[in-house]
Amino acid sequence: MSALLEARDVHVAYGRVEAVRGVSLSLPAGQIVTVIGPNGAGKTTLLAALAGLLPSRGQVIYDGRDLAGTDVEDRVEAGLCLVPESRELFADMSVEDNLLLGGWRMRRDKAAIASGFAEVYERFPRLAERRRQLAGTLSGGERQMLALGRALMGKPRLLMLDEPSLGLAPLIVREIFHTIADLRGTGVSILLVEQNARAALESADYGYVLETGEITLSGPADELLHDPRVAATYLGGHT
């Protein structure tokens, strides 16, 4: 199977400090690949660089095309969408307007926008109830749903999720992971960055462990789940 996204020896630096040092990873089309690791390992930095928000060295190939010299908007246009940890919603606009703008990539296709709305509202009925409400007044879980829904409006081919479970109640975390598994079924490829290693590995096909900017371990998700080193550090010691 050919890789939809392939990163080769990617370095990202803040000034002189290298936060990501020579990371290579590959994401086969239609799969969920997760990057787990402790706080400050460079996970968010890596995603931001792949999305084009941060400059990086090394090669990033998406759908057979080298992404060098393309910016965030070009990548979104190609269907590579990021849902950042900070959500970055339009707080003073309604839920519906947030979703509508999420469909910016599809703006010339009225039917795609309409079907996007239908799909998102079906997936997250809570958003449909609150469609007139301002995004800034939503609860944490609803904000994450909106961030996810906004990205889905653009009909992404590759969705990059940064800590989608961060700060959410366990019940909502389950719901979010359920949605992620569900999206895989619709053909969306997903690159998932998580601190909640168990949930991430349980829904992913393949996993990478990122520590202090370097990949220290990788393998099929269920192997990692039973790897003693991963279990000791990230799964709380009991498998």
Binding site: V72, E73, V76, V83, L89, F90, D92, L100, L101, W104
Partner: protein, 343 residues
Amino acid sequence: MLLAQDGIATGAIYALVALGIVLVFLVTRVIFVPFGDLVAYASLSLAALEENRRPGLIWLVLLLAGLAFLTEALTLLRAGHARLLPRAVLLYLLLPALPCAVAYVITPMDVPDLLRIVVTLALVLPTAPLLYRIAFRPIADAPVLVLLIVAVVVHFAMTGIALLCFGPEGARPRPLTGAIFEIGDIIVSGQTLLMLGAAVAASIGLLVFFARTLTGRALRATAINRVGARIVGIRPGEAGTTAFLLAALLAGLSGLLIGPVTTLVYDSGFVIGLKSFVGAIIGGLVSYPGAALGAVAIGLLESFTAFYDSAFKEVVVFAGLVPVLIIRSLLQGQAVEDAEEEL
């Protein structure tokens, strides 16, 4: 009563300009100091066309277009996107040159006034987006203060170039309408009504634009959250260009409307811009209705002080800013601190 009427009419013009200032500030965080200059350019150009002289704005626009194209071409070449060059030629050279060519051709001809007005507007339109491309887009992420300083520099540069293009003489275009209405004891000129109407129409138009159209929403989104806008694929640069284009339209309109009432010279736009800015500040620089109301208040204040002692009219207007700022900071101090903590 006459004073109030005059004040509201002037205030309506300030309101149009203030709307443009707020619009540009919200989307790009630039306090666009040269904005008032565009008002004067519109008025001077229309006057020139009416007297069958070639307006200096033609040369100004061509100069800006050339500079903007060079900036764009250099950026593209450095990023290795040479294939996008033809698009840059179209956007930054041909499109701005179009109204210039039309204006050049119709100058000696006897054409309907309406055509002259349209051509004048079309000449003013490209100036703001071109200035944005040259001066502000390369530093779009700079702090507000840096953007402000650059805006001041652009203003002074523009004043110099405008003197070259327009010459030192003032000019006054013919009123758009000579109609006079009598309502009871009050005599209202058609021009005053036009000014009011334009201000109201522009405010409503902007309101509808931002609430109903996708482009309007995209501009708002860019103003609220630049990163959020980028990750859904909205380019802040393009949003900025749209904002500057709309602002130029507002400036052009106000220039056409105020021209027949006050004689403007090449640099008198600055004071108009400054007073509108004061109006926008009264509105907090973030609210369109606030800015419009503030601008009308400035117009009234100016009209009444001018009647009692015209020497003091500017003094009172700008001195009025001080208590407003104090009250605002007292009222808003808490909110601002909260906002900073969130960042």
